[in-house]
Symmetry: C2
Subunit: 542 residues, 2 copies
């Protein structure tokens, strides 16, 4: 990303900004109009060649942010009153709009991120799948957790009043696009989809690495909003820096919660800003996880091969740029361990250096890898330097150490975001329990072995369960399934709210809160709580 | 509360502390043993005469806190594995233990708090009711929100893994006793009961105003824990100051969440401490609420009488020491308004000054009342000064102002915790919407009028819904019903977590988080998630 000077006098600001996608300078989407033409612009960079891409994006002014927030607040009540069917129609429409853009997205996103076409198509499919999942969830409507306690006028010593509660939207949400998921965790990604599903307006801050992708999708959101008559403030898309635009968004009194996927420092900064507000708001930041793998002794030769295959795929998938990338593997010392190292190294060598999402990520990857490698008892098993002279390519890497050293050196727990992993050899399975007890919160932990291992080492399993959002057996953590039971969350520092998930149906619960209605006439209750249950919801009642 | 010097050499520390209730010096309950005999003690004060009560309570050392936390952490895994039936038996046993202490509690609590016998008995009943409600909830077990996505090995392009999730306990909880509910929001109150129900160990910090009551109940907890074989660290009771003992509890790395009911400053301090930790933890602090009443025009003479009756009871109940006490009443100007003021004043005069819970509360009440009264356009309609020369008695009070002045003077929103209320006259109902829009988060808001008013002023209703946890129609907010649908919560500053309730079945959700199991063999899954559903739970599955 590069700052360029762009004098405002020559800008073509009179055209139809929302529908025009070929303009050479693009400002933010503030409701149905466009953001100010400030004199700060940036462009995306093609990670394959390090060249700036032609389109320019204008950073939002603080007035733009304020305007978006006020629009969102104004939209809040109306959006919160929309019935599930209408929200559902909007989300399905949006999925269709995004699908119809697939070819354009392939071009724009590939050039902005260096991600291969197949990945772009897969992520488009996932994003639309997420939108449709929430569409279905709110069309059915059971998610509101309707609870009914009917009046008992004759109860002694006091009559019991009629009380009914359900989940209601919490208000405007600020969503920060993730660098590593330009679609699925960005403009119309899981955070936005779950917020809209809950009935909350969304203000998205685009990621500086893929503004063009953000704008394509943002324009699709605007079209879907207009088509289904949602209020204007239901969505804004803002370009700009975290330190200025992101900060003012997080501090704006209209914003009621924050969704974020990214670095630990970024998530922590938002968390601190939100808690320092006069009215603190919840922050759902998914930040940092090394997703340890625990391999039990006793793997067969065939098992070692399969495990090495799976591990290689999991470590290098998306050039290692997944939150669930396995950063540490605890493996048994001895013959099996040696075979594993040799098999895994061979397979990792097949990984061709590939472009990372942007220079910042590549720099952090290289520094993180070197930092681990510089520890006295950490050995570099394999390291591939990219041969390309341009772009932001990264090669795979394998580091190794012993559990004895690992226990003494807590910095080895640090996440290295990229296609490398640290192998830690152990002697006795009991040592793993010690490791697990000291471990920080993680998105996932994975166990590899026989069923009887799980039983024998149930202490380890039970301990890990308290530290992670998802516990896997003989499966790799990458490839997060979007479904009703997925938990993509975990205790701090995996997230800032260990009681939440940012993927799957449960993600909607982040943006809702229970409200109780006491003594209300039936016809003035929300439909979800009326006596004749017109929506046919599953309710908890007596 | 008064500090006394108590040289440790003369203390009878060899007796059986846990079961002995007649000892003259009592230290904390740290698991099954007693806290250190530090040289800092305090005693409770009888609010009726201002006299110190004879028993002395020893403030915990920081070592005591650390020991309690380590015990809790150790107990955490075992307690988290207990099945619902066993947790249920423990909670029922505890309810029985508390009931069997009723006569002792009446004596101790009345002398420590000045609360009348009937209230002590009613609160005992409520506390045991809460314990039994959670006992039933966990015996049934549906609260774990079990979600099942079965494997689809043949799905294209990738097979779908078997994934199952449920709510699991988050670990040791610190509970701070509330001054105004020595039973229902204290040692075995709603916070503790819901935490145990979730499977979390509890460390309770006693309130300095009622240590004897806390100890009586604490000993009952220990007996119930022993009887049902729960691990020792499932409970500790700690005496001491918030600034030392409370602070070290909130900062201890073993503690995973905090439950608190009390002042805004106390809740905010805990919130700040928790967020400044290396691993921030959630704080469920219920702090400050003025629970506004909105009276629509058109009340009949009969209606005015009934409303004034109800309001008098609600304002003076428990000497006004309820979180849901109605602190502000917006009423229509003119003939109806005048009748209401005259009727309400007459009824309030019947309230006989009564002891508040402790000197600190009375002081804050007097200062808060005087502060409101000192505003230029606030009139004192009625103020009763207590005639008693000793003790901490408080009389009722009524203040009045206009909505025009109220809008200009935001400090009139400040909570005054005691038996007074501020009447605010308005001209047009539309003015109420403006008020509601600017209002901070509240536990409750109540509307009084006809059904047609609710319909006519639906904008006001919808706006209030976004600001409160509970919305009432023609009912008063005091007398919180403990049930499945109650929401005792609300946006900041009503609580520090507007997505939670501290009363009712939903309170258990504060202390649990979802965990997903992927690819687990059926017989190693928690019972709640196994294929044959051995517990017969309501589950979300496909």
């Amino acid at each position: 990303m590069e700052l360029v000077s762009c004098p405002t006098k020559s800008l073509p600001i009179a055209i139809d900004w929302v529908t025009c996608s070929s303009t050479f300078m693009q400002s933010s989407l503030i409701g149905f109009s466009r953001g100010e033409m400030t004199n700060e612009c940036f462009h995306a960079v093609n990670p394959k060649n390090g060249q700036a891409l032609p389109d320019l994006y204008v950073k939002a002014s603080l007035d733009d942010v304020e305007k978006a927030c006020r629009l969102a607040k104004k939209a809040s009540l109306e959006l919160g009153q929309l019935d599930g069917k209408r929200k559902s129609s909007f989300l399905i429409e949006l999925a269709q709009q995004v699908e119809s853009l697939e070819e354009e997205v392939v071009l724009t996103m590939s050039s902005e991120t260096g991600l291969p076409e197949a990945r772009v198509r897969a992520e488009t499919m996932r994003t639309c799948g997420q939108l449709r999942m929430f569409a279905k969830l709110v069309a059915v409507g059971d998610w509101v957790d309707a609870r009914i306690d009917r009046a008992q006028p004759n109860r002694k010593p006091l009559p019991k009043p009629d009380m009914r509660s359900m989940l209601r939207p919490i208000g405007p949400i600020a969503v920060f696009c993730a660098s590593n998921f330009p679609l699925a965790f960005s403009v119309a990604g899981g955070d936005s989809a779950s917020a809209w599903a809950a009935g909350c307006p969304v203000i998205v801050k685009a990621h500086h690495a893929h503004p063009g992708t953000a704008l394509l999708i943002g324009q699709a959101v605007v079209r879907a909003i207009k088509k289904w008559g949602l209020p204007e403030g239901s969505f804004s898309l803002i370009f700009g820096d975290g330190k200025k635009v992101g900060r003012s968004l997080a501090q704006n009194s209209c914003i009621q919660a924050i969704g974020f996927t990214g670095s630990r420092s970024g998530g922590q900064a938002l968390f601190d800003l939100a808690n320092a507000r006069e009215d603190p708001i919840p922050v759902f930041a998914e930040m940092s996880s090394v997703n340890p793998l625990f391999v039990f002794p006793g793997m067969s030769d065939q098992g070692i091969e399969e495990f090495s295959d799976g591990l290689t795929t999991s470590v290098t998938l998306g050039v290692g740029q997944f939150c669930t990338n396995p950063g540490i593997v605890f493996y048994p010392r001895g013959k099996i361990g040696n075979k594993f190292i040799s098999s895994f190294s061979e397979k990792m060598k097949a990984f061709v250096p590939s472009p990372m999402l942007h220079e910042g990520i590549r720099k952090a990857y290289c520094e993180g890898f070197d930092d681990l490698a510089s520890s006295s008892e950490v050995e570099i098993i394999y390291k591939k330097e990219p041969s390309e002279a341009v772009g932001v390519y990264a090669g795979a890497g394998i580091l190794a150490t012993t559990i004895e050293f690992f226990k003494r050196k807590t910095s080895l727990w640090n996440e290295v975001f990229g296609p490398s992993t640290l192998l830690v050899s152990y002697q006795e399975v009991d040592e793993l329990l010690e490791i697990a007890k000291d471990m920080d919160g993680q998105l996932t932990a994975s166990l590899f072995g026989n069923s009887s291992d799980l039983d024998s080492y149930s202490d380890l399993v039970l301990c890990l369960e308290t530290k992670v959002g998802r516990l896997l057996f003989n499966e790799f953590p990458t490839g997060v399934e979007v479904c009703r039971s997925i938990v993509h969350g975990g205790p701090f520092p995996a997230t800032t709210d260990g009681r939440s998930t940012s993927v799957g149906e449960g993600a909607i619960l982040r943006f809702a809160r229970p409200v109780c209605y006491q003594g209300f006439p039936d016809d003035l209750l929300p439909m979800e709580l009326r006596e004749d249950n017109p929506l046919g919801l599953k309710r908890s009642e007596n």
